[in-house]
Symmetry: C2
Subunit: 587 residues, 2 copies
């Protein structure tokens, strides 16, 4: 499991599933594609709005990336495209360089997708997927929840029909309050109605459809396409009632047709300004996507290769940039719909891409009358499912260290924005982890009478010998905890003038690095100067192999025992004999 080489290129997944492709899988994939297309159109428009980009860019980001993922991804059912959190992060990253609505803003968003795609590809080829593991679950949960709150708040301006800006909750709230006097009432009516309708669709439509005789799965899928109804109904209302004239912001002219393909030109300046953001977006997008893909794959006993996923997502983002889109990743809701609708191979994604392309070619004129408030409602309803405070209670009960990490992440994200939030979360959780392992658990142990077992003297009634100190070390020894072990041993020895032997019992020591080896040498030397011998017991095979490559064992004043019982029998035969007697008596 440890022997993965970098650059071991595997055949593309498409050569595996492509070989078994037939009429049945084609039908299944086509059905799924139609449903996902219907669901994806309003989502793509809405998330582009969230990212501060023109709506068509959301559509562009839902075409080529799906084809690229179908070719390079390892999940059979993951649906990629614009998603909420990545759109928010795009707005935060690009907003530092240019103003929304300018050409520079669009160029920077495309460049961001390109850069992020290249990073993901390099990470995939170098098999660096493990980097994502340093985002702990609580940090991700806290980050997603805080992002959901910021996203929902950011959409309030569209519901209210006012102007407001800001990347953090504080900035947004301040800006919204400042503009509360400008509320556009027709917009508010549209927005609130659409939001209420969409919430109802989530909860109430499925049972209603079922009561009309629809099967559960079909009812579920139709309910998921609810935003399309909201889009159609509010567009009709805007057209019929002439809401555009009453100050309701409409999507307006969307360029018909597909953009020309082009490889973005990246200036060194732009690369430097975007690199940090691109790295964060890549990792967050990857973590999100892989966890969706794994959840779905496990249901069908399929496998996800995280490094292949990096390549798949990298290719998708590069494709997004080439096709005039912005950063994408695997989305939860659309992947579940794709899965439930029966998609069997990644080809379903490619068919979805065709669907979106057709919509971009022929349906964009219909979007003229679509109120932005409807799109905002779609976003708000979607992200409210991301907001989940239960992680606070969970970590509070289970692990205070994780509670600190999740709270820090949420607070920093809400106050200072997504980028600082996620960075702080990662640094905090690594720091807490290092702190915890820098004080390794260890216990002075004694012999349980009548057995050959040793237990913590603080928890059990055990026998010890005044000349022998048995210290069980419950952690691998490395630089951060080596000195703590040294201190512990010196403290114990300084307190104990009768001592002749120290036995380090190492059943849970999986590794000893150079620093820890030097600490052991120092302990050995200092104990020796005091006339105390150092022994080891229950050293694991691989650790012993490494120690034998050094001269430590030659210099060690004491011996290495296979078991702690053998150690105590050799060093304090009396203790051992007593036990044997007790043992004999018990028989």
């Amino acid at each position: 499991m440890r022997m993965r080489l970098p650059f071991k290129l595997k055949p593309l997944p498409i050569f595996e599933w492509g070989r078994e492709y037939n009429g049945h899988t084609l039908t299944s994939d086509l059905v799924a594609a139609v449903i996902v297309t219907i669901m994806l159109i309003p989502q793509s428009l809405a998330y582009a709005l969230l990212a501060g980009l023109p709506p068509q860019m959301g559509l562009y980001a839902s075409i080529l990336p799906l084809v690229a993922y179908a070719l390079f991804g390892s999940s059979k059912t993951l649906a990629v495209g614009p998603v909420a959190v990545v759109s928010l992060m795009t707005a935060a990253a690009v907003g530092k360089l240019a103003l929304q609505g300018t050409e520079e803003y669009i160029v920077a968003a495309i460049a961001l997708a390109f850069l992020s795609g290249l990073m993901l590809l390099v990470m995939g080829l170098l098999r660096l997927g493990f980097i994502a593991n340093f985002l702990s679950h609580p940090v991700i949960s806290g980050f997603i929840t805080a992002s959901g709150i910021i996203i929902a708040t950011s959409q309030l301006k569209h519901i209210l029909g006012i102007d407001a800006h800001g990347h953090s909750l504080f900035e947004l709230a301040q800006s919204i309050i400042a503009h509360l006097g400008d509320v556009n009432w027709p917009t508010l009516v549209i927005g609130v109605t659409a939001t209420a309708f969409l919430f109802w669709v989530r909860k109430g439509l499925k049972p209603l459809l079922q009561s009309f005789g629809l099967g559960e799965r079909l009812a579920d899928i139709v309910a998921k396409t609810g935003p399309v109804f909201a889009v159609a109904l509010t567009s009709l209302a805007a057209f019929g009632l002439g809401l555009g004239g009453q100050g309701v912001a409409l999507v307006g002219d969307v360029p018909q047709g597909l953009p020309g393909l082009q490889v973005p030109t990246l200036s060194l300046d732009l690369i430097f300004s975007l690199a940090g953001s691109a790295a964060l977006i890549s990792i967050i997008g990857f973590v999100e996507s892989v966890s969706v893909a794994q959840t779905l794959a496990a249901k069908r006993r399929q496998r996800i290769d995280p490094d292949q996923e990096l390549v798949g997502l990298g290719a998708s983002n590069v494709a997004s940039a080439i096709g005039g889109g912005y950063p994408v990743t695997g989305g939860f809701a659309r992947s579940v719909v794709n899965f439930d609708a029966g998609a069997e191979t990644p080809a379903a994604g490619a068919y979805t891409a065709v669907g979106i392309a057709l919509a971009t070619l022929f349906l964009t004129p219909l979007l003229f009358f679509l109120p932005k408030a409807t799109l905002a409602a779609t976003i708000i309803v979607a992200v409210m499912s991301l907001v989940d405070f239960s992680i606070l209670k969970r970590t509070w009960n289970y692990s205070k260290a994780d509670f600190v990490a999740v709270t820090t992440t949420m607070v920093v994200t809400l106050i200072w924005g997504v980028e600082l939030g996620v960075t702080t979360g990662v640094v905090t959780s690594i720091a807490i982890h290092l702190y915890k392992t820098s004080r390794p658990h260890s216990a002075i142990v004694g012999l349980v009478e009548g057995t050959e077992h040793f237990r913590n003297i603080d928890r059990h009634a055990v026998t010890t010998h005044p000349e022998v100190l048995s210290l069980r070390v419950d952690e691998s020894l490395y630089f951060a905890n080596a000195r703590f072990l040294e201190d512990s041993v010196y403290d114990l020895v300084a307190d104990n003038k009768q001592l002749k032997h120290v036995v380090l019992m190492c059943p849970a020591v999986n590794a000893i690095d150079t620093s820890a080896l030097e600490s052991l040498e120092a302990i050995n030397e200092r104990l020796d100067a005091l006339g105390v011998k150092l022994h080891l017991s229950e050293v694991k095979g691989p650790v012993m192999d490494k120690l034998k490559r050094t001269d430590f064992l030659d210099h060690m004043s004491g011996d290495v025992f296979l078991s702690q019982y053998q150690a105590i029998c050799a060093l304090a035969p009396g203790t051992c004999a007593q036990t044997a007697k007790a043992n004999g008596a018990a028989h």
Copy 2:
């Protein structure tokens, strides 16, 4: 051992040893103080020169800090003052802000000592001594060796009597080569002679003195005061031969008397510019000092409290700043001399301070004719003992990961200087450690026939059952390796269609954080969907206590077994019975 509270103020060490102070300890301390004073005068002057400061600042830095350490430090024999590596780091830090020889340079060096002292005090009061543990032994070794090379090279200009500058080896070498034409021959003669003399003093003086009938310890101590002879002899030569007129750089006028005490005024600007450097100097100085203190304390079965050491060193640096000195820490050579000369309490340090103060008051006129080349020779000979490449071979043989860390540290230090060098070393070693633990060691195990023991199926002939997968996890589970465990389990299960039970054997799992708990929940859920049950065995007490606080065990599809043998007996009775039979047959 885990229950250290922050801010638990203990009585000062002086109240302990002060109570037992008597005539005998007074005599011992006074003798040691005289010897250390003689040794410290040339060292103090030389290290001030290395730091780019006027020589008297080295003396100032050897007065109040010693008194402060005597009051607050926890080592009985540590001698603080200017040392080579910290002097080099001071030059690197202050050199970024001002030019050597200017008033700003001196002010910044004093501010650096003050800031570093405050940081150490805060770290001590908050019991943050463990931070120093993140400097691994190989990183420190590599850093010290590279620093030694830079220091020795930096002193070549004084030996050659030329002008040269630079904080990294490359800059220095370039500058020295550019000025080689300006060599001052009388200076070179003085410098080379002094260096050769001092090397001979190191190796040859002690045996010579012993052959004259001196005791070994006394011979050793006299040999350590060698630099004083070099100072006296070359000063006499410079005076007698009028070397100053021949272009030999002399120390010249040193202000007589002690500087007024003053609390340095720190502008916010200065604090921001120096904070990073102060933190690095604090930690490097602390690590160096504590390891010296521990080595000496262990020889007399005394104890060092690392957090009290932080307070002691913090107070010393604050005192140094108040007394017009620069950053100080515990020095190896002088502490060993203090120890060998018989110092029994920290009072010896206070007496040394009096000695240095008297020297500053009365002996400074004698320093006028002291050639700088002699001081440079003192430094070169002192730091050559720091240079030790054996760590490269050692780590190459023992741990390639540590080899990478030490090589990186040395190369970056030599090329880009001390600050980037030590920072890179720490980051590299933490990253390597995290990478290693992100792929926890685990093994599929089977039953050793005729026993109740389980061993790795790849290494031993063992019995397994096609419906039961026993996976022993050899590492604590936390966010960085939780996902790897998930992947491993899914891969194993996807390959194995007959499987009914997965048993995670956890004898070496000392902790399970929230992320790992969620991974276990995900594993449980996904296996359950496939009709495979998840079981645990040999879970440690504290880990079990924590799991019981969650609802994981209620949802888990399988059971928790006390031993892996019980698990296999319950899940695959056949395997267990066979073993029992084999066991019976063996009897």
